[in-house]
């Protein structure tokens, strides 16, 4: 990336510690708590550094509590970092929230920017005023949103009457309404069905392709990352454990599958000596269930299933991709070796 423009987001040794007042149980504890200034500190983000360039689509992933949301909150200017530097489009976000706010759009998956009791369209009109969006851009964007996200029929409804997916589509549209340079999406697909997810993914890609919007996205759905992002940053316990292309991750883990097998036989511990090929590990064995992890490159799926059918009375088999959590866990435990 040496010949590319300067980074639009630049982060150096960014650190956030939360202070949590120490508290002991019971009444005495509660009284002590009132007067004590003793804190435990939780280091949620630990000396994180990265550069993001204009137009990049970056997936920011990690287990629950890894520090994703905390990082996003520092990038958006919501939180003041404990240490380190952050610059977004030349601005230190928490120092100049007004200027920064004009450049960014944000979706916090669990919250809405819209006012609960009034029709959706009113919130769009308010945002038009807040961001001083020129009428022609507003009109043009509303047409795109109605077209791609299909929200036209929702605009007259009060927000509280929208389903989760409908609300998320509206919130996403609001985040893009003022043509921001950067979009932060903190779990935009949480709790949504596959159709809405796909709709949202293609919308994000469209906006990125047409406007060169930089997108930073957190999610627990590997498919979001797979379909939207080119680059992934993986964080664990506040530290970056991987920063690189999605293709490299896929090349390494895309062939890994998890098999859930349900059998009629009553499985007992110690029985698990089935002759499985190399590259397969047994993760669970008991009751009427077996869970296997296999690498398709090392072991043939057909061969494994064949072996199982010969030994057990199989009721059901399902095959899944490895979850992002276990990938993160594996990268964290084993490190990333090229």
């Amino acid at each position: 990336m040496s010949s590319s423009p300067p980074p639009i987001i630049s982060v150096r040794n960014l650190t956030k510690e939360y202070k949590i007042a120490r508290r002991t149980e019971g009444f005495i504890g509660a009284v002590k708590y009132l007067f004590s200034r003793k804190y435990d500190t939780v280091r949620a983000v630990d000396r994180v550094s990265f550069d993001i360039y204009p137009g990049e689509l970056v997936g920011y992933i990690g287990k629950n509590g890894a520090g994703k949301s905390t990082t996003i909150k520092m990038l958006t200017g919501v939180l003041v970092p404990t240490q380190g530097e952050v610059k977004v489009n030349g601005i230190v976000p928490y120092r100049d929230r007004t200027k920064n706010g004009q450049n960014i759009g944000v979706v916090f998956g669990q919250r809405t920017q819209m006012k609960w009791d009034i029709p959706v369209i009113e919130s769009f009109r308010l945002m038009k005023e807040i961001y001083q969006i020129p009428p022609d851009i507003y009109k043009q964007n509303m047409e795109i949103f109605c077209d791609v996200l299909d929200i036209g029929s929702l605009l007259a409804k009060p927000v509280r009457k929208l389903s989760l997916g409908q609300r998320m589509k509206c919130d996403l549209a609001i985040a893009f309404l003022h043509n921001p340079k950067i979009i932060y999406l903190d779990e935009p697909t949480i709790g949504l069905d596959i159709l809405v997810k796909e709709n949202i993914r293609s919308f994000i890609k469209t906006m990125n392709a047409e406007r060169n919007t930089t997108v930073i996205l957190t999610t627990h759905d590997l498919n979001d990352i797979d379909s939207i992002c080119q680059r992934a940053i993986i964080i664990d316990s506040g530290k970056i454990v991987y920063d690189g292309s999605i293709d490299a991750i896929k090349a390494r883990f895309g062939t890994h599958k998890v098999l859930h097998i349900e059998v009629k036989d009553n499985l007992r511990q110690g029985d698990e000596v089935v002759q499985l090929p190399a590259g397969v590990t047994v993760q669970e064995f008991g009751e009427h269930r077996i869970k296997l992890h296999l690498n398709k490159e090392a072991a043939s799926l057909a061969e494994v299933i064949q072996t199982l059918i010969e030994q057990y009375n199989i009721v059901d088999i399902s095959i899944e991709d490895v979850s992002i959590e276990s990938i993160v866990k594996q990268i964290y435990q084993e490190g990333w070796h090229e």
Binding site: V80, R97, T98, N100, R111, W116, I118
Partner: protein
């Protein structure tokens, strides 16, 4: 500036729209406010049947103070009541949303929750002022109206400032922040009577620390021609601007302490 007024107006209308969805709450709120004011002034009236005057103040004079006190508070409720929801915003982490918008977060919070029952306070206040003025022979010509208008505006700013400062405690004490707001509001009860009936610690408190006296008593002395308080009348805008400055400062410190929530 024009842009901010337009924006504010829009947020206010939307806040009202949301409230009108719950019609009964709107009607009950207003009826309760008016009843509260009427019983308050009725008590004063009963009292005066016994004592004739209070520390040299006559019934109509006290009614004037009472009525003027209701106006800035009514306007505060009607337009800037949003600081009452600050605690909820902080506790639920919803304050995040306001911080990512271009523009002052205080501005956005103030317009968040207009209370239509402020209208009840404004209406009863006006009626009480008119009743008192008849007996006191105060004429509401253009000049007096204008002066009253300014005083109410500065008074409203004082309410904004004090309530912002007390609401900001939520940035430090998330669980109990609203209590400080309530506590501050309790001192409002003292301002419907003449300041000089109180012992000096309370007088000093209501003048310089929680300066509610500048929202009701001092403005009233102007219309009652009490020249001995004239200095304080001139101080009204000074106090209002000063306290708003303090409020903005505390706000900025509070916002930078904000830690959001885990999800």
């Amino acid at each position: 500036m024009a842009r901010y007024i337009r924006l504010y107006w829009m947020m206010w209308i939307q806040g009202i729209q949301a409230q009108i969805e719950y019609k009964s709450s709107f009607i009950i709120g207003n009826v309760a406010t008016i009843l509260g004011q009427v019983t308050g002034i009725a008590l004063v009236w009963v009292l005066f049947q016994k004592i004739g005057h209070l520390n040299g103040w006559s019934l109509p004079e006290i009614m004037l103070i009472y009525g003027i006190a209701a106006l800035p508070y009514g306007f505060f409720e009607l337009f800037f009541n949003g600081v009452w929801s600050l605690n909820r915003y902080i506790r639920m982490g919803d304050f995040d949303r306001l911080l990512v918008r271009p523009g002052s977060s205080l501005f956005f919070i103030l317009a968040d929750q207009p209370m239509l029952h402020g209208l009840g306070n404004i209406a009863t206040g006006t009626v009480i002022i008119l009743l008192a003025s008849r007996q006191l022979d105060i004429r509401w010509d253009m000049c007096n109206l204008l002066i009253l208008g300014f005083m109410v505006a500065w008074g409203t700013l004082i309410y904004i400032s004090i309530n912002t400062i007390t609401a900001c405690t939520s940035f430090w004490f998330v669980a109990s922040g609203t209590n400080f707001l309530y506590l501050g509001q309790r001192f409002r009860d003292f301002t419907v009577y003449p300041l000089d009936i109180y012992a000096s610690p309370l007088r000093i408190l209501l003048t310089w620390v929680i300066p509610f006296a500048f929202t009701s008593f001092f403005p009233s002395t102007y219309f009652l021609d009490r020249d001995d308080y004239r200095v304080f009348v001139y101080l009204i805008p000074v106090i209002a601007v000063l306290f708003f400055g303090i409020a903005s400062f505390v706000w900025r410190i509070g916002v930078n302490r904000y830690e959001s929530t885990g999800s």
